[in-house]
Amino acid sequence: MTALTLSLRDEPVHRIDLSAVRPDRLSGATPEKIARLGLSCGNRRMQVGELFEITGEDPQDLVIRNSCARLDAIGAGMETGRIRVYGNTGDYLGMGMRGGNIEVHGDSGHWTASGMHNGMIHLRGSCGDFAGAAIPGDHRGMRGGTLLVTGNAGDRTGDRMRRGYILIEGDTGDYCGARMVAGTIAVLGKVGIAAGYGMRRGTLLFRQLPPSLPATLNDCGEHRLGFLHLLLDSFADLDSRFSRLDKGQLRVRRYAGDLACDGKGELLVWVR
């Protein structure tokens, strides 16, 4: 079977909630039935067939072409299958995702991977603010799985994150890992101010020291930490710069904190 392909006919005027179009929900559906599926578009409903040209038949391998920043919640809540997106996506990409794989050849908006439980999102572009963070009213952000960003990430990456990995090959904005409960965020580029602000547990692994750190993250000196070898080993299968990191360079400077919030988190900076 060939991949079920939805090609966006024209950029919509309003934002579209695409959370209903996901592999596990479309299982067994014919292209005709998929075309009649209703989507929220602003304050009215539109059918998938009105917005997209549909080809192929395997919903477990879903391809979205000509995507744009008005397509929100792609792959939100998905449990199985694969989604490949060509073009940019809107907000809430992979929100609450519980399994499967999303690959985006473009940028995504805010709240990417928010509340994600499991699975893998490979964003071959940049994402907006609050990647892996908790949406307002939610206690926890990302709870598992992996978000891999080839480009840059905005502010508040991993805010209130609970578990899982956020791997940023480029730069991140301010407040990276703020209020983090646990999990791992690794950044190969530059990091903004106030990283780790209010973090309780978890690991922030940076290639460069941020321009400033919260006063409640305390320098614990340089160390060779055995678990980093295991961590980098777990990246070996990723199609990413993270899989090519030199495990010989395992010496890090450790900042413990946030000491105002239990202080069991850590910010590790590669020592060159």
Binding site: R163, T184, R201, T203, H223, R224, L225, G226, F227, H229, L230, L231, D233, S234, K247, K264, E266
Partner: protein, 298 residues
Amino acid sequence: MIINGVTIDDTFAEAFGMKATRVLVTALNHRWARHAAESMTGFATSVIGCGVEAGIESELPAEATPDGRPGVSVLLFGMSSKALGKQLENRVGQCLLTAPSSAVFAGLHGDKTLNLGRNIRFFGDGYQTSKLIGERRYWRIPVMDGEFLCEESTGYTDAVGGGNFLILAVSQEQALSACEAAIAAMREVPNVIMPFPGGVVRSGSKVGSKYPALPASTNQAFCPTLKGMTATQLTPDIEAVLEIVIDGVNDSDIRSAMRAGIEAACALGAQHGVRRISAGNYGGKLGQYHFHLREILA
């Protein structure tokens, strides 16, 4: 059956069902990995008195360990998962946590698990942290040389303990030389350990004793100094008998180890004083596993 002048008795070794686990101990170098593992497997010759039977299975190159450092693989055998788990935690806590630069990882994976670092972590007094990498949780316990990295749990499996064979020789020196050759060959076999000192035991035992408090006592039928006063199993030319006991993850591993060991001993042959190979059993009534020497060597 005679191999190179050595008679293979028509008998069998009798072995028992046990529980086994494997852990991988790593350190800054092989020397310190061995220090840690030798300490962990010390006083672990027999479950009768030690609670566990343990030994170093093999040395591991840095590429074969989870943290990319040199290490050793350790196998531990107990009569029950509960007894094995208790011994494992005690030994991790007293012998690995204390050993400079060491770390310990699961060597078996499965649904049935034993605690490795789950309770040891409390040594960290609140400063311990965990890391979930993939499906496995690791504990990082702050210690004076950095961190003791310890996987949360390790798997265990049904196993076999008590495979054995006896080497009968015309002198103590020649019996020991034959045992050394056998042990060297058996150490190449995976999934087995020979838990006694140097892999060899001289105090082969029988079940029971004239003293009611003792569960086991010397096997006088194989004691050369008692040849004239007991129903001996020894011919006049035999002056020393040594036993090699094998614990294995499964019975085929024990068969492979017994074959390798006996062949190595027989390679020395009668001209080096090795006269017979026999085995210890309890008449076949106690152990679930019977390893017939002639079948193994056929």
